[in-house]
């Protein structure tokens, strides 16, 4: 306890009313609407365009692009925050990363501001810039399409694009890591630049250079260039603050601006001298990393350890008070909320409501294994308790032998106040798990959490923890349907592993399931490897490499394996549902012989229609994960072991191993919606259980549930797990003691992680019914926090339907009416509003036809009419024609029955339409009928997922071309219906 000098760990004297600055900033932050910021996309694209023919290697070109953006990035000071630097040019901004998934919002550019779920405001000038200037450059260049081109559109890529088997995270992000800020804070970016220069010179001085030497020299130069951008940005901030200070009349703001000008003149270029400089330096570095890496789970790590030296020194010297420290940390928390992700409507279904999940980790032990909890830990807990914002995701480490009970009790108290954060981690399990992955003890003890729940040897391990999201239910269905899945119909997806009649023992069925799982994992891993190679070719990370342990020493970029440790994370969806399904099959089919497998599967096909007793048997009478039933225990343990062995057998492109994990974000709701009925009695389209949590209502009481999850061998889940518990009420001191006891016991029993929602069914049902009355109700989803309002309905329902345990009796509370046998929310489609405004009399006829077409049921001719209109508008409308200036695109549209074949070729500013096949189209769109195609392209809330799954529309080839086409079609729709002038 030597680091703890505070007498009141709660810091109870501080409230939002005596910290008015935080109060004001918090109110502003919560009220802010997200806006798309294109600054980054503009400058990065611009730079890469300019260097296209420079002959320089990509490392240098990309470093220049990052530097170019940072140097030109506008210094912004939106409010009275004490820290300088903003992630984007908007108070609450979504940056655009065209290298990754930025182009997926192309079709939506003109509607994203008004869409129903989580709209993002975008200026129309920015829409035009993206549409005309920026996106076209990336048509062939983003990670997905570059991979498709290089690999010739292999089967595993097509499998990924069906979305229901696995998701390949690398198409959208690598990020997901904990950088090392310590060195940059202590010594400054200038030191790192000098170090890179020294190493580069040392290599060059050798004279004759091998290919590897040259690579190293290039790497060091790329680091230097990228870091110069950070310095330039800080210098601009300093100048910007100084300039504003001159004009400022409010004395408080003036002195704050002056202070920021001074701070940014010192850091991050030089070493931080004060706590304020350290915090601001860290923030600017965090902003800078996002110039290069997408804003997904770039996690600052152990802030109570990193910032402690400055905190202690300033407090001891009297230069800092606890109140000031609270303010500075609070300012950092609000800054971490200044950005969000750019997510297309379809992805809202799968990931909706997530922030950018920068995870902060506190507590635990230090590198020597001693208690590391200090005063700053409590300052951070206090700030978390006071602000209750979506980000950062705060994680509390607890070492049962080294950390004090007082500390654990204080964390529990913060959970009781905020109703959901922090999450708890068991140090002894986590450290053991990382050591088992080959991490040194000292580095393992310094672990921090990435994003949701992933364990990382912080600043030293490049974990790509979100590489694969694999749907375990897909493998189960493939085994039940001999290599097919109900959602994908007649397609033979996986290997043929046997007809149902052929299984005479559970072991035989299990082998079939394992065979499907092995095959699916193999597909996902291979594709991830390909994406990894594309990243190596196209997206180096010189800036992040500089803020990491390993790359500077080894002379290799992170993406080439420069970190001390390397891994790839694969997380799994549907764990509990699959385990329960296996147990039901084992017990009721093969042990008791109560049903035959064909009987069960026949009932699944009909979603148990007319066979409720069978469903109830499966749901109520089979062994459940979450209880002590030996069959359930065996099946859960062995599935984890199987996945662990399988993944660890693969070495990734950076030389590290694959690590299985069990967190699901909102994928369990999204994938659940797309899956048929299961042998655990779950009906079709209902959400799966989240993370590693047992199926709702499976565990009869709280301790039984915790015991079951604690039984899991943490060594088998090196990627981490999300265990979600709901418990009510936690009001009294006794309740709090019990909560603390429960967590402590769960950890003693070997549990790795647990997080709580302290809320009743009623609260959540009410919040779903009246979102506006609860705009900032924060809930724990599966490793991150979200405002309940922002979640899609399927996800809301899943959170409501998680079992709540009565904290007094420990018993599982029965689900509220309407949630016992849930059906997915069915929302009526929005009606299209039409106005007859027409631009030009020559367009009158095609426009009228088009309006007719999209408002009536007669849609066979939709495509012809659309292309006709397009041609006309290209001719008449200069602005619209800009869409195809310099654009060469070859499209082939074909109906499934081949009754319609239409090609559309854009070349030399013109569109040629023909009723014939063309060779080598950029993209081919196969559609069921005109209506399906129209919905796919134009519907206000397009059910793209559904359309692809039902095979109403199947695109093949470069999707960016399709996005661009959809943008053009939707623009016409808006013209026709009078929504653009």
């Amino acid at each position: 306890m030597e680091y703890t000098q505070l007498t009141d760990l709660r810091l109870s004297e501080f409230t939002l009313s005596n910290l008015p600055l935080l109060n004001e900033l918090r109110t502003r932050t919560l009220a802010e609407k997200p806006r798309v910021c294109i600054e980054r996309a503009r400058y990065v694209t611009d730079s890469l365009k300019n260097t296209r023919n420079s002959g320089e290697p990509i490392q240098l070109r990309y470093a220049r692009a990052v530097k170019g953006f940072l140097a030109r990035k506008s210094p912004q000071f939106f409010d009275g925050n004490l820290l300088a630097g903003t992630t984007t040019s908007k108070p609450f901004g979504a940056p655009v990363y065209p290298e990754l998934t930025g182009l997926t919002i192309w079709p939506e550019l003109e509607t994203i501001s008004t869409r129903k779920k989580n709209p993002l405001i975008i200026d129309s000038a920015d829409v035009n810039e993206l549409n005309f200037e920026i996106f076209p450059f990336w048509l062939e260049e983003n990670i997905l399409e570059a991979t498709r081109r290089r690999t010739g559109n292999p089967g595993n890529l097509k499998l990924f694009e069906k979305l229901v088997f696995f998701l390949a995270g690398k198409a959208g992000a690598l990020s997901h890591t904990v950088p090392c800020y310590r060195v940059a804070l202590e010594r400054g970016v200038d030191y790192l630049i000098a170090e890179a220069l020294r190493r580069e010179h040392k290599i060059i001085a050798q004279g004759l250079l091998s290919k590897a030497d040259k690579q190293q020299a290039i790497f060091y130069r790329s680091v230097r260039i990228a870091l110069e951008g950070v310095r330039d940005y800080a210098a601009n901030l300093s100048r910007g603050a100084a300039k504003l200070a001159l004009a400022e009349t409010d004395p408080v703001r003036k002195s704050n601006l002056e202070a920021m000008a001074e701070v940014c003149a010192q850091v991050p270029a030089g070493p931080a001298r004060t706590f304020r400089e350290a915090v601001n330096s860290l923030w600017i570095l965090q902003v800078a990393i996002h110039a290069e890496n997408i804003n997904m789970a770039i996690s600052p790590g152990r802030l109570d350890q990193i910032l402690y030296p400055w905190y202690r020194a300033d407090l001891d010297s009297g230069d800092l008070t606890v109140a000031e420290a609270l303010e500075l940390v609070g300012c950092l928390w609000l800054k971490l909320n200044d950005n969000t992700n750019l997510v297309p409507e379809t992805a809202e279904e799968l990931f909706g409501g997530a922030g950018t999940v920068p995870a902060v980790t506190v507590g635990g032990v230090d590198g020597q294994g001693e208690d590391a909890v200090n005063d700053l830990t409590y300052v951070i807990l206090k700030v978390t308790e006071l602000l209750q914002t979506r980000d950062p995701s705060v994680n509390a480490r607890y070492h049962p032998e080294k950390n004090s009970r007082d500390y654990l009790a204080r964390v529990a108290e913060v959970v009781a106040t905020t109703k959901c954060v922090p999450a708890f981690y068991n140090d002894s399990a986590a450290i053991r798990t990382l050591v088992n992955q080959g991490v040194s003890s000292e580095h393992a003890r310094d672990y921090a959490i990435i994003g949701c729940v992933e364990l990382s040897a912080s600043g030293r391990s490049y974990d790509a923890s979100s590489s694969i999201l694999l749907n375990l239910v897909a493998a189960l269905e493939l085994a039940l349907f001999n290599g097919k899945r109900p959602v994908t119909g007649d397609l033979q997806i996986g290997p043929r592993t046997g007809d149902l009649e052929s299984f005479t023992t559970f072991g035989e069925f299990l082998s079939a399931f394992h065979a499907q799982l092995t095959w699916l994992i193999g597909q996902a891993v291979q594709l991830n490897e390909e994406f990894g190679r594309t990243h190596q070719e196209k997206l180096p990370s010189p800036l992040l490499s500089a803020l990491f342990e390993g790359p500077l020493e080894s002379g290799k970029d992170l993406i080439s394996g420069g970190a001390l440790y390397n891994a790839s994370g694969a997380t799994h969806i549907g764990f509990a549902d699959v385990v329960d399904s296996l147990s039901a099959i084992e017990q009721l089919v093969f042990t008791d012989g109560r049903f035959t497998l064909p009987q069960v599967v026949a009932a699944l096909k009909d979603d148990f229609e007319g066979n409720e007793p069978l469903r109830l048997w499966l749901a109520n009478k089979a062994p459940k994960y979450g209880t002590d039933h030996p069959v359930a225990v065996k099946n859960s343990t062995s599935l984890l072991a199987f996945l662990y062995e399988t993944y660890q057998g693969y070495v990734n492109y950076r030389g590290g191993r694959y690590r299985p994990a069990f967190w699901t974000m909102t994928n369990h709701a999204g994938q659940g919606k797309l899956a048929g009925a299961l042998p655990n009695g779950r009906k079709a389209h209902v959400s799966f259980a989240s993370g590693i949590t047992p199926v709702s209502q499976a565990a009869p009481d709280l301790t039984c549930c915790m015991r079951s999850v604690a039984r899991i061998n943490p060594l088998h889940i090196p990627g981490g797990e999300a265990f979600n518990l709901k418990m009510v009420p936690v009001d009294t001191a006794d309740d709090l003691e019990s909560l603390t006891d429960a967590v402590e016991a769960y950890f003693q029993a070997g549990g790795l992680h647990v997080q709580f929602n302290i809320m009743t069914y009623q609260t959540l049902v009410e919040a779903k019914a009246h979102p506006d009355r609860h705009p900032h109700l924060l809930v724990r989803v599966s490793g991150y926090s979200a405002y309940f309002r922002d979640l899609n309905d399927a996800m809301k329902d899943e959170i409501i339907a998680r079992t709540a345990y009565d904290s007094r009796t420990g018993a599982a509370l029965p689900l509220p009416a309407g949630y016992r046998d849930r059906l997915p929310a069915n929302e009526p489609a929005e009606k299209m509003i039409v106005s007859g405004d027409m631009l030009n009399s020559a367009l009158a006829l095609p426009l009228a036809k088009f309006v007719d077409c999209i408002t009536s049921e007669i849609v066979e001719e939709f495509l012809e009419v659309l292309l006709d209109l397009m041609k006309m508008v290209f001719f008449f409308d200069d602005d619209y024609r800009k869409n195809i200036e310099g654009f060469a695109g070859r499209y082939l549209f074909r109906s499934v029955d081949r009754s319609i074949t239409i090609s559309a070729v854009f070349a030399q500013g013109k569109l040629h339409v023909d009723e014939e096949e063309i060779p080598d189209p950029h993209v081919q769109v196969i559609f069921k009928d005109g209506k399906a195609l129209m919905n796919f392209l134009l519907a206000e809330n397009p059910d793209i997922l559904g359309a692809m799954l039902r095979q109403e529309v199947t695109p093949e080839g470069n999707l960016n071309y399709l996005y661009k086409f959809a943008y053009m079609a939707r623009h016409l729709q808006r013209m026709a219906t009078g929504r653009v002038s």
């Binding site: 409720e612 007793p613 069978l614 109830l616 048997w617 109520n620 009478k621 002590d628 009869p700 009481d701 709280l702 301790t703 039984c704 915790m706 015991r707 604690a710 006794d734 309740d735 003691e737 019990s738 006891d741 429960a742 402590e744 016991a745 769960y746 003693q748 029993a749 345990y805 904290s807 007094r808 009796t809 420990g810 018993a811």
Partner: protein
């Protein structure tokens, strides 16, 4: 030793004593309080919960019932007069519309279950014996208690107080860390009316134990609106506590859960019992009255 019937073992309870506890509910009680929120605890014999609302009409119960107690025409019914509570239908009922109340657990089996949550007991938690009336099964209970004590598990008992004091002193008290003792009604006649049992023995046991056990004896008063939760009754109980110098006590908020359970047991419930929880203000006022009287 005859094995008693146990109708529930609840893990992770935080309401039945300090810390996190496992609570064992015995079947059978000498009292029969009309407000009891666990009416399935009252009879010594096994019973069947029958919830017609969740029945899906599969008729599996009918097929297995040995005595014709499960009828399916004109609709699925349970003829309790013919039912021996053999439990066969509860095994076969897919919807859990039938469940068996009361099972036997050999001592070793019960102890194994009670040790499952050992990790969760920490410094303060442990095992609580409740009911029903656990002291009806002295021999069994004593054996279980002694085994738990060997394992260093903290133990508590919830009792209505209707036991033979000497037996209690000899076989149970040495192995109990805490005793929660119900005090319901001070007036002897009302006690007899509402619980079917006089209160003389109970009060005598209580006073005797309070001298021996000090703070390890905790009186609990259920707040049943209109019956126990009257100013008169509460004042009398509070005075008794003051006389005995007792300052630690629990007032249990009324729980109308018994009404639903009586439906499942096919029993009528007394119209005197309110169907909802007590309103907060009344409860606060009564607590304050009690507190000021005890002081």
């Amino acid at each position: 030793m005859t094995l008693p019937l146990i109708f529930d073992i609840r893990h992770g309870s935080m309401d039945d004593g300090p810390g996190i506890r496992t609570t064992v509910f015995f079947k059978g009680c000498p009292l029969s309080c009309s407000w009891c929120h666990n009416p399935e605890s009252q009879r010594m014999e096994a019973e069947i919960f029958w919830d017609a609302q969740s029945c899906v009409g599969c008729q599996a119960c009918h097929a297995v019932c040995p005595g014709g107690a499960s009828a399916v025409l004109p609709e699925v019914t349970l003829h309790r007069e013919k039912c021996t509570a053999c439990g066969a239908c509860t095994e076969e009922c897919p919807s859990n519309a039938r469940s068996l109340i009361g099972k036997h657990y050999p001592v070793e089996e019960l102890v194994r279950i009670l040790l499952l949550d050992r990790g969760f007991y920490r410094a303060t938690g442990g095992v609580t014996f409740s009911g029903g009336e656990p002291t009806l099964h002295v021999e069994y209970l004593s054996t279980v208690l002694q085994t738990l004590k060997k394992e260093n598990i903290s133990t508590a008992l919830q009792t209505c107080g209707a036991f033979d004091l000497e037996n209690f002193r000899r076989h149970l008290l040495p192995y109990l860390d805490l005793v929660y003792f119900d005090l319901k009604l001070c007036d002897t006649t009302s006690h007899l009316t509402y619980t079917g049992f006089g209160n003389e023995l109970l009060l005598a046991n209580f006073s005797a134990l309070s001298r021996e056990m000090g703070k390890r004896l905790v009186p609990r008063v259920p707040l049943v609106p209109g019956i126990t939760a009257t100013e008169l009754n509460l004042t009398e109980i509070a005075r008794l506590l003051r006389e005995l110098g007792i300052t630690t006590y629990q007032l249990l908020p009324f729980n109308p859960g018994g009404i639903e359970k009586r439906r499942l047991l096919g029993q009528p419930f007394s119209p005197e019992i309110p169907e909802s929880f007590m309103d907060r203000d009344t409860e606060r006022r009564l607590r304050e009255l009690f507190r000021s009287t005890v002081r």
